[in-house]
């Protein structure tokens, strides 16, 4: 709300120093965002919160200033006589739907000339950010800015049958508003009709047909009180917010219609020479009563944590035009001003006391807690993942949770039904993401484009899909992405390109750090965004709970990525029950382990997992570990075969292993490999 200092001074005396006024208004709840100047006049830009529509005017702000400084408020001149000796023009007002319009005042003026307003008035409108139109329309706007009450002026001669009827629209009814747009109405929208049809959408905007023009010589002024929720609903539904709807939907003052119309009459008479031709009609089928709220001083003290004097309570409320009536010791029955639409409960009055007591004067207390804090159920999981991955060189990414149609196509999740946003901002944000992959691929692209060529990212975030019943649901997922060299350039030449097995190594290290019970990665080819030849599914507890692999070459190409990209996504909701296996100490072995290597030649097609699991199944209790330490494929061995070197570690917890026993173990393993997989020793 723009408030002209020069205009404000008409109603109340203000401090010489505008900065002081700014400070005091701010600390009483009216944030002065800035002080600017319009053609030599200082203008305050005040942020008026939605609970204080009474402050959306110069008099409204003046009332607050008067209360803050304990100074009197000077009200402007009004037209006293609102009824001519004899009505020259007759008109009628009918309220069909009083639930949406408890009060409607109208008056008819004539004998004026529509012209440009005087410069002082135009200046004031401009200070407040309004564009002057002509003296009649300008007066209605002036009164809006002065009293905060929206008025409307109809060209009376264009109203059919000189009749106003306030009623709900018929469904599908249409009318063209002042802005020239034809609008379709529904049956909950309130209309102002003349004898023939709609002439205004109540409290929102007038109609084009009855607009004031240079040839207007008779005007019907409207000053009404419309039900706030109804105006808001209509304004929202039509996507049409005006100065009038802004005030009505927040709650106008139902006592304001008559003073406002009287002020407008006064100004039209003064500025344009108009006179009243049809006296005031004040149709008020539902009389609204001011709120009366009981205030217990003890309650105010308990909420604010300070002691209050009865005198302070009484004087504060009176300064703000409340009427407190003492009904017992420290108990008040408080009648609220009609313009305070925000007054409903005792707590509202307590805030008024706090505002004038000064928030800054309430002493701080430090409540002690005797209970230990409780972390969220995922705190341990998330912080462990973060710590491990950070140590492994991965930086944490956060992507927006949205995905567009194209990303949904590129990164589909096989079984889930995506969730659409009914009112998205853009096409790119039309859906909630079903996978973390899309965001991570966009992130790697951005980095590669900026010549950051070694990229390691992880994201811990929600993905969203409909559950079996079709309800929107979300779950925590972990995304991993690696691209570029596995180490930075270094003079030791320890480098090489990041590949699938680096990614798998990260997953294994992470899972062992999280004390995952057991897991394996099995071949998979059903993830659209991964290369079917380089994809693995992460199996935990017999379920597929994630994927890892090389980005599908077609996506790599369409994103023009200059490094091969490897990606994994893990469902943490499914994983978490298998994590943090309890620690149980095992006595340290007393006898030394024995290491033994074995090289065999074997069919290339035999997966390592089959060999590994088979060896575990041979039944050697002393076998502590099996490592794959070398793989050779090449011209020294027949095509279709590979040579693998395995390293075994054997250990007997009871006694030192003899050479003979170790040889026996090794022979058993070789025999197994020979029989089950046709291996030959090299």
């Amino acid at each position: 709300m723009k408030i002209s200092i020069e205009w404000l001074k008409e109603y109340v005396e203000i401090p010489e120093d505008v900065e002081k006024l700014k400070q005091d208004l701010t600390m009483s709840g009216l944030l002065v965002e800035s002080i600017s100047e319009y053609e030599g006049t200082p203008v305050l830009e005040i942020e008026v919160t939605s609970n204080r529509p009474d402050c959306l005017s110069h008099i409204g702000i003046a009332r607050e200033v008067a209360a803050i400084y304990g100074r009197p408020l000077r009200m402007p001149s009004l037209q006293r006589q609102l009824h001519p000796k004899q009505d020259n023009i007759s008109f009628a007002i009918e309220i069909v739907d009083p639930d949406l319009c408890p009060r409607y005042c109208g008056i008819v003026m004539t004998g004026f000339h529509v012209a440009e307003s005087p410069s002082w008035l135009r200046h004031r409108l401009e200070c407040a950010g309004m564009r002057p139109v002509n003296n009649i329309v300008d007066v209605t706007n002036y009164v809006l800015l002065e009293f905060g009450h929206p008025l409307h002026a109809f060209d009376f001669k264009l109203l059919q049958q000189g009749k106003i009827s306030v009623a709900r629209a018929a469904a599908g009814q249409k009318m063209t508003t002042l802005d020239g747009i034809e609008r379709e109405l529904d049956s909950e929208m309130l209309l102002i009709n003349d004898g023939a049809g709609p002439v205004a959408i109540a409290g929102v905007m007038g109609g084009l047909e009855s607009e004031i023009s240079l040839s207007t010589d008779t005007v019907l002024l409207e000053s009404a009180y419309f039900q706030p929720a109804s105006v808001r609903r209509t304004s929202k539904k039509l996507g049409l917010s005006t100065e009038a709807s802004y005030r009505f939907e927040r709650g106008a003052d139902w006592e304001n219609p008559v003073p406002s119309i009287a002020r407008a009459c006064f100004l039209i008479k003064e500025l344009a020479g108009g006179k009243i031709a049809g006296g005031l009609k004040d149709v008020n089928p539902i009389k609204l009563a001011p709120a009366v709220i009981e205030l217990k001083q003890s309650r105010a003290e308990a909420i604010l944590g300070v002691h209050l004097d009865e005198a302070f309570v009484k004087s504060t409320l009176e300064k703000l035009n409340f009427k407190p009536k003492r009904s017992g010791k420290g108990v008040w029955q408080v009648t609220c001003p009609s313009y305070r639409a925000d007054m409903e409960l005792e707590a509202d009055l307590i805030e008024e006391l706090a505002r004038f007591y000064g928030y800054q004067n309430i002493p701080a207390r430090y409540p002690a807690s005797t209970r230990a804090g409780v972390p969220s159920p995922i705190f341990h999981l998330e912080s462990s993942i973060r710590q491990i991955l950070r140590g492994l060189g991965y930086s944490e990414a956060i992507n927006l949770s949205f995905a567009g149609e194209s990303e949904q196509r590129e990164f589909p999740v096989p079984t889930s039904e995506r969730i659409e946003i009914l009112n998205p901002l853009t096409e790119d944000t039309q859906f909630l993401r079903t996978s973390l992959a899309g965001g991570l691929v966009r992130s790697v692209k951005r980095n590669l484009n900026h010549d950051v060529n070694r990229v390691r990212l992880f994201e811990l975030g929600k993905v969203y899909e409909r559950d079996a019943a079709g309800a929107p649901s979300e779950r925590l997922a972990l995304g991993l992405l690696g691209a570029g060299g596995w180490a930075g350039h270094n003079w030791q030449n320890l480098s090489g390109h990041f590949d699938f097995f680096h990614l798998k190594g990260i997953i294994s290290t992470l899972l062992s750090g999280l004390r995952c019970e057991s897991y394996e990665i099995v071949p998979a080819d059903n993830v659209g965004w991964l290369d079917p030849l380089q994809t693995g599914a992460l199996m935990v507890g017999g379920k597929r709970i994630g994927y890892a692999g090389a980005l599908n070459p077609s996506i790599e190409e369409s994103y023009k990525l200059k490094e091969p990209v490897y990606l994994a996504e893990i469902n943490l909701k499914e994983l978490s029950p298998y994590l943090f296996r309890p620690v149980r100490y095992e006595a340290l072995a007393k006898y030394p382990p024995v290491e033994r290597d074995l090289s065999v030649m074997i069919e290339r097609e035999i997966p390592f997992a089959a060999i590994y699991k088979g060896i575990q199944g041979v039944g050697i209790a002393e076998l502590v570990s099996v490592e794959l330490i070398d793989i050779y494929e090449g011209n020294k061995i027949p095509p279709g075969k590979v040579s693998i070197t395995l390293r075994f570690i054997f250990q007997d917890r009871e006694k030192t292993l003899t050479v003979e026993r170790v040889q026996g173990f090794s022979d058993n393993i070789l025999a197994f490999l020979r029989e089950s997989h046709g291996a030959e020793r090299r």
């Binding site: 600390m27 409960l345 509202d348 928030y359 804090g373 969220s376 900026h450």
Partner: protein, 338 residues
Amino acid sequence: MNEFIEDLRRQFEAELAGVTSLDSWKFVRDKWLARESGLITTQMKRLRELPKEERPAFGQAMNQFRSFVEMNLEAGLAKAKEAGAHGNKKRIDVTRPGFPYALGNEHPIKRLQAEIEQVFMAMGFRIFDLAEIESDYYNFEALNMPRNHPARDAQDTFYLSELTLLRTHCSSVQVHAMEAMQPPIRAVSTGKVYRRDPFDATHSPMFYQVDVLVVDEGITMGDLKGTLDQFLKRIFREDIQMRLRPGFFPFVEPGAEVDISCIFCFGKGCPKCKQSGWIEILGAGMVHPKVLRMSGVDDSRFSGFAWGMGIDRVAILKYGVEDIRLFFENDLRFLSQF
């Protein structure tokens, strides 16, 4: 005869002095002391060539010489080992760069989020992990923002269906906490929230918030101020000043806007604080009686306070980030600064 042994002694001393490594020491040792071919043994053989009367003296002198050699070799061993250690090998250049192990970076928002949760845990709060997909009831209705409430304008909302939405704040922790537990309640929730703002330097349709609720008997606005004061000091700096002024949020009454002294100019006035010396940081207040009642808490017996703050906003202030989009673009040139 003495001259003969004296010559041997000189020869031995010269050779021992020339020892530069364990190997050359061993060579000298073997040359002189080897059982069969050592010089002492071979020279002892000269005994037979000597006249009988000279033999005892020669033998004694040679034995003394042997002891001398043994003693000196013993003494030279340590020096030989030391010399040997440096012998053929050269000193490494310790000024060359070490292996480039890479540490990943913390995301500034996540770092702050963890810091904030830790401050609250230390103050005895329970941290709630709540869903981002929320019902209209928890996000608005139960927080005293019924349908058609103008305050909903400030929180333009993404809807998934008529009554399902992406939460616009974490304030629903108030309702969830009051439903989940009885007073005393000390609850906090942090996480992503969504508002229908276009993505630009100062707006993002997704950002992070922290919301706080305390409900107990006898909770006052003084408790709100004290808890806020502790929190802001931990998150910003010990000498931060705080200012509360009346503000409006439908779920609190009295409501407050909380400002901190400008962390750029220390309250003197600068462009960042629009010369006011203060920066608006969060919204707070005493829990609205209607909110208590709707969640089944007796507002005549219990009172409480609540506040909510944007975590991104704190990150912007603390690290001087000028464009909110940087938080969600995952540019490693940005992330590597944290």
